[in-house]
Symmetry: C2
Subunit: 231 residues, 2 copies
Amino acid sequence: MTIQMYDLCGRDPDRRFSPYCWRTRMALAHKGLEVDAIPWRFIEKDKLAFAGSTTVPVIVDGANTVSDSWKIALYLDTQYSDRPALLSDAAGTGAILFLRQWTERVLHLALLRIVLLDAYNCLDEENQAYFRPSREKRFGTTLEKFVEDREGHLVKFKELLAPVRAVVEAQPYLGGERPSYADYIVFGVFQWARSVSPVTLLASDDPLYAWRGRLLGLYGGLAAKSVGYEV
Amino acid sequence: MTIQMYDLCGRDPDRRFSPYCWRTRMALAHKGLEVDAIPWRFIEKDKLAFAGSTTVPVIVDGANTVSDSWKIALYLDTQYSDRPALLSDAAGTGAILFLRQWTERVLHLALLRIVLLDAYNCLDEENQAYFRPSREKRFGTTLEKFVEDREGHLVKFKELLAPVRAVVEAQPYLGGERPSYADYIVFGVFQWARSVSPVTLLASDDPLYAWRGRLLGLYGGLAAKSVGYEV
């Protein structure tokens, strides 16, 4: 049975730009599960009320509704334990949880300083009217000011990635020879950027460039074929 | 058979302050292995020549000599696979490797801005004469200047720990219900600080304070009983 997934989109319903939703899209493909990724926009909170959530991803798998990308990963590994694992044992899953916290608290914020205005520009008017005041309140400044020193933030973003770079210099994926949910967590950041912004985040000789290329090509080029910019 | 381990010490041979060596001490205890932790000082490179190493930890386990704390962890899990695991499967070990890279590239540097001069002051004269020029060359400034804005760096250090804090707020250890090598990697940073400096790194209401307390108490208080300052 096809799983339904509510997936953040822009003005163009095929532009899917949420880093959290990309984790789940990759996770479902990793499990070999069919998905119907339903376009959803920020202001459509009512459409998620059935799940008790105000954010995506939300999945509906038969009688089961799960929201929050981390809970979805846990659910998929439990429900489909006969398929390739996303997470690990307790020790490994704890370390992946650390990677998740680091990505959300450090890397997401660093990328926002680069692509926040681009993300805004991908939205339709109604969603822009929701997005601008909510983000300007959160960051205490205008979207334009927030991304002002884009070049400086690009340098910082690349520096912050040093620990990820060191791992994928030594092995093909964070997961080792095969991708794990850890890869999808970090890859979600790059898919988010790629879907809203023409910015060049990585030089072609960066080990992360090759790693991202491997992720883009997985599952028949699922991510590479999605609406976005060339990287 | 008792494993021999070369372990960095200060003027006082019982002051063991290497974060890398603490990883290995905790790892050996985790495995229930006996260890003879031989005091070693920076300038005693010749004593490690047999292992082809210039840094500690180095362990000698019967016919096997292993240097580098990460390689030692891998060795212990392979050699003593019937004892509690330190690492995880490929996906989990990859994420622990990321945590290691982050700890060494981000957290170690942040702590150095706080305790570098304290560490220097724990050394005997001969090792001080080696340590000062080598570190001043590395950091391009005097030890004193390097730790000048200690209060500012303390704030930064605590901020950088946010992703670790978030995990140990949700579960007792990075490893889940039980400690894993991921815990020892981060704990090594705190043992390093505790052994050379009276500085207060964590407020008592910080979830990391309770987590560190759990680590200090493990294996009969191995870490708590070591020579250092009250935390």
